[in-house]
Symmetry: C2
Subunit: 209 residues, 2 copies
DNA sequence: CGTTTTTGTCACCATGTGGTGACAATTAGG
DNA sequence: CCTAATTGTCACCACATGGTGACAAAAACG
């Protein structure tokens, strides 16, 4: 019985996509540090020389991967998520919830951000750039929407809460509890959000006796 | 002229210490990921076979390094730093300042915690263990000192602020600004502390109109 | 058809890695 | 002083890494 082994047609674009898919899986499974030319070729099931031919370099793969990746929320989505807030504090509360949800939804982003704490590769740099740009955009839009900045250090406030959310999201990949809070469950994060709400409200309501 | 090249006396304990010193420098310079048997032997200026003989394994070096390392604050020091606080919120404020100062004072700890986000080695595990134990100790002591826990989720509050401080301290090794705040300078951190104070005070004073 | 370019396969290189065995130099013990 | 254990040096192994050149199979093009 002659099984006509169907030969895959030669297609450069398809091969490139195969490589980009593979690097996503690789980052997810072994982290950014586990990515190498040999490992990537093995994971993609192609010859490593094709990586050099099509992307020139491993960094070239990173750049291509960064371009077509959905690593961060869009500013318009953040604005929509906070649209129904009557004032700045409530917008911040909704924004923090949105940010946390979007982060936890992107495990590859979390993996890259984890690597960001130790190394600085083209991928982390690309992600950093996107993040800074979107944050700046958001700040402008928010300032226009809520002109009354009540002498509160908004950058410090959002920086602190954002850092906390980022770090807890990153660490939740490998640990379940952080300082007595279950960062692996929906309930645990709801608990955090309630406290965040309290902190934000309290900060804005400092004119109390 | 015959220079009598003084031969270093053979001393196992001294060699072990040389290795442990070298691994500290190595972690500081290249991060935990940059540590290998060959690199360590090179840095220490000894033969790598001695590493295997004296510590059995690279993990053995990690364990020995973890044992004689000063990676975290002592509970008694934290208690002393917050002793003059009249109530829980003020104790928390002082505690956060103390924690941040002690963290930023230990670059090796920051390096290990950065690696902790991606890998899990005997060193990171050892550090994790110490941290959990001290935190638990502190919680007990604090609960005894301030019995009035006003229906506030203290673990969530300290977890969030602690996570923010940890992450900002870790990232401050490689970046200068985080979301509009200068995390590389004393002034930047003072700005963060002021906001943290506001957040804590506000959280505890939620009984406002 | 024939020719040229592209796609993919394979063998190979130098180098770095973790790890081990043999052996000389130096101690310590009797 | 002689012997036995310890400390340190060196050569070596198998393997994985990043990277390159040669070459056959397939397309594209005239």
């Amino acid at each position: 019985m002659v099984t006509k082994t169907t030969i895959a047609p030669r297609d450069r674009l398809k091969t490139e996509q195969t490589i980009l898919d593979a690097i996503g899986r690789l980052i997810l499974r072994d982290g950014l540090a586990g990515v190498g030319v040999n490992a990537l070729a093995r994971e993609a099931g192609i010859d490593k020389v094709l990586i050099y031919r099509y992307f020139g370099d491993l960094d070239g793969v990173y750049e291509a991967f960064a371009e077509r990746g959905d690593f961060w929320w869009q500013v318009e989505d953040m604005l929509a998520a906070t649209a129904e807030a009557p004032d700045l504090p409530n917008a911040l509360k909704l924004g923090m919830r949105f940010h946390a949800r979007e982060m936890r939804r992107r495990p590859v982003t979390l993996s890259v951000m984890a690597a960001e704490t130790t190394n600085r590769t083209p991928l982390t740099i690309a992600l950093e750039t996107v993040r800074e740009k979107r944050s700046l955009d958001l700040f402008e839009q928010m300032a226009a929407r809520y002109p009354d900045n009540r002498a509160i250090d908004i950058p410090a406030l959002t920086g602190l809460l954002g850092a906390a959310i980022d770090y807890l999201a990153i660490r939740s990949r490998s640990i379940k509890r952080y300082g007595g809070v279950d960062v692996g469950s929906h309930a645990g994060w709801e608990r955090l959000f309630k406290t965040i709400d309290l902190m934000i409200d309290g900060t804005f309501a400092d004119a109390c006796p």
